[in-house]
């Protein structure tokens, strides 16, 4: 017979341990985005050159919406990946759209001149589009399939490998209902510890 009195207390502790084990094995920083699989929020935004870009007008292309800022360090390395991707898949219907996050036009213009890249650079007054896309920081990228659905969300700089894996199937017309979210180091939430902090950064 089981000595219930002896085992009662350790048994009572088991649910607590189970709860702790469940909690401690999860990544507290991981936040699952509800966006992948849904239609990409539409926008009409002004470019550096004063034109405007309508996301819906790009339906049929595979679009990479990339949020970045000149004060974002990880965006430096990511930029070269984007240049290469646009050059490689551009003719097949791939389009990078850069959305500038909490930065000034002169900064953005200087950045694009220095580092190259011939895609539209969009301005997002009041971070409206950033909030529509549930942005936490920069860089963050959303890969939109030909049907206008978000197939992939990248938190942190997007890597060439990830694009090489994701873009060709999307170009081939595949749509993924898979909700994929990847993270990589270097993602900045413009936290107060960093010199990018504060509400001072506004359009001059």
């Amino acid at each position: 017979m089981i000595p219930w009195r002896r085992v009662a207390w350790p048994l009572a502790g088991l649910p607590v341990l189970a709860l702790l084990a469940f909690g401690l094995t999860r990544d507290a920083r991981r936040v699952d985005s509800p966006l992948p699989g849904r239609l990409a929020p539409d926008f009409v935004l002004e470019t550096l050159d004063g034109d405007s870009v309508h996301l819906t007008a790009l339906r049929g292309k595979v679009v990479l919406v990339n949020f970045w800022a000149s004060w974002c360090l990880a965006c430096v390395a990511e930029h070269d990946v984007l240049v290469a991707a646009q050059r490689r898949w551009g003719p097949e219907g791939f389009q990078v759209l850069g959305v500038v996050y909490q930065d000034t036009r002169p900064n953005a213009r200087q950045w694009m001149t220095e580092r190259g890249g011939d895609w539209p650079t969009l301005f997002d007054p009041g971070s409206r589009m950033a909030i529509e896309y549930g942005l936490f920081g920069v860089p963050e990228s959303f890969l939109v399939d030909r049907a206008g659905r978000i197939a992939f969300k990248q938190i942190g700089p997007v890597s060439g490998d990830a694009l090489a894996r994701m873009v060709p199937p999307l170009l081939a017309g595949q749509t993924t209902s898979e909700t994929v979210e990847h993270r990589s180091p270097g993602h900045v939430r413009s936290s107060p510890e960093f010199p990018t902090a504060g509400g001072e950064r506004r359009e001059p």
């Binding site: 709860l19 936040v31 699952d32 985005s33 509800p34 966006l35 004060w71 360090l73 990880a74 430096v76 390395a77 909490q102 000034t104 900064n107 009041g126 971070s127 409206r128 950033a130 909030i131 529509e132 896309y133 549930g134 942005l135 936490f136 920081g137 180091p185 270097g186 900045v188 939430r189 413009s190 936290s191 107060p192 510890e193 960093f194 010199p195 990018t196 902090a197 504060g198 509400g199 001072e200 950064r201 506004r202 001059p204």
Partner: protein, 419 residues
């Protein structure tokens, strides 16, 4: 560095600040008043206080001074003004950020654990305490003749009670005795068995010499004492839990301080007493500065606090004053580092480098100076300098600093260093 070059650097920094800071001040004040001036304020505050700021650590959208939070507050205001209900506004953000954005998750599904567990724990704990207490009280009523009985009598009695209880169960199982009678008899005999066993146990302990035998007359009191302690402890626990719950669930009043955090009141614009800093330590330091505007230590600390809040204009002014007062004091290194950070934020990278170099001349291992030097060098694409600065930073960083991010950046800088 020569005296001339040093003063040249100070002049450059000064010029840069006088040009850049007023613009920032004007912009932030305009934004502040725009947010303040509305009849919707209370409702906006109520909703914004339930949303988590995506770019901060543990601040609500209402409390956060960050630009993104300001934009979110604006969206909350617009939607409420357009007739949306607070729940509609919350759903709007949940659809974009997930349930993470809610500071108080919906009480459904797995989240219910958070609501139910405390109640269950209290109920189970209370039940156990009551059971214990009842047993002690029952044992406390030991008849004096039982206490005085010889050991052998007690042992015999215990055996008899045990057998009696077994027989009782057998009788009940055979259906020869009514269930209610069985229960009543069993309860009575079990209680007596407990009492006898307890006395025997105590005598056994007394004989082994581990504890003195209790005085006979004092027996009930000795039994009652642990019960009283348990119950008193439980009541104290309940009270503490109730207090903690109340303070944890009461929404923070506008401008009230956040415990342990140097955070500005969300819309506090100037140093006027009504809008001034509400953090007690910061308030104390500000007071010291009002009495003596040359209090170097206070200048440094308040500058640091404002930097942490992202109020760069104020941080720059105070740090610059600290530099002017004692340009060569080792502790001024911190002020130079802060200035460097403000300047870098304004895009003045070259002047920022000068300021940070000043800091490192005065204090070669100042962690924040090393961190900022790395950041500025990185954005100037001087990767070897960034690698060197961050490597040293990681060696001297205070243990509580979150260095994971810097490690990540250092990796990238190392990769970029080699063409």
């Amino acid at each position: 560095m020569s005296r001339d070059r040093r003063s040249a650097a100070v002049v450059t920094i000064w010029v840069a600040l006088t040009v850049l800071v007023p613009a920032g001040v004007a912009a932030s004040q305009a934004a502040d008043s725009a947010i303040r001036d509305s009849a919707l304020d209370a409702q906006v505050q109520a909703v914004a206080a339930t949303l988590r700021c995506p770019v901060c650590q543990n601040l609500s959208v209402f409390d956060s001074p960050s630009e993104l939070a300001l934009s979110m507050k604006q969206i909350v205001r617009e939607q409420l003004a357009a007739g949306a209900s607070p729940d509609d506004v919350r759903s709007y953000f949940v659809a974009r950020y997930g349930e993470w954005i809610l500071l108080r998750p919906e009480p459904k599904g797995f989240n219910l654990v958070v609501w139910l567990l405390p109640a269950i724990a209290l109920a189970v704990g209370g039940f156990l305490v009551v059971m214990r207490a009842r047993r002690w009280l029952r044992q406390g009523r030991v008849p004096p003749e039982l206490e005085a009985a010889p050991l052998s009598d007690l042992q015999t009695r215990r055996e008899r009670l045990r057998h009696g209880l077994q027989d009782l169960d057998a009788e009940a199982a055979a259906g020869r005795i009514a269930t209610s009678d069985h229960d009543w008899l069993k309860q009575r005999d079990t209680a007596e068995l407990d009492r006898v066993s307890e006395i025997l146990k105590r005598r056994g302990r007394a004989e082994a010499g581990t504890s003195p035998a209790p005085a006979r007359g004092a027996a009930p009191a000795a039994h009652l004492r642990p019960a009283v302690v348990w119950i008193a402890g439980f009541v104290v626990f309940l009270g503490a839990a109730a207090l903690a719950l109340r303070s944890a669930t009461t929404p923070r009043a506008a401008g009230a301080p956040l415990t342990g955090l140097d955070v500005a009141p969300p819309e506090g614009g100037s140093e006027s007493p009504a809008n001034g800093p509400t953090d007690p330590r910061l308030a104390m330091l500000e007071e010291r500065l009002r009495r003596d505007s040359t209090d170097h230590q206070a200048l440094l600390e308040v500058g640091h606090a404002y930097l942490g809040m992202g109020r760069l204009d104020r941080a720059a002014a105070l740090s610059f004053k600290a530099v002017q007062l004692r340009p060569r004091a080792p502790e001024t290194a911190e002020a130079y580092a802060h200035l460097g950070m403000v300047l870098a934020n304004q895009g003045e990278h070259e002047v920022a480098v000068q300021s940070i170099d000043e800091a490192l001349l005065l204090h070669p291992d100042l962690p924040e100076a090393l961190l900022f030097r790395g950041i500025v060098s990185y954005s100037l694409q001087r990767y070897p300098v960034a690698v060197e600065a961050w490597t040293r930073y990681l060696q001297v960083a205070p243990p509580e600093a979150d260095t994971a991010h810097v490690r990540g950046l250092l990796e990238t800088a190392r990769r970029l260093q080699r063409p």
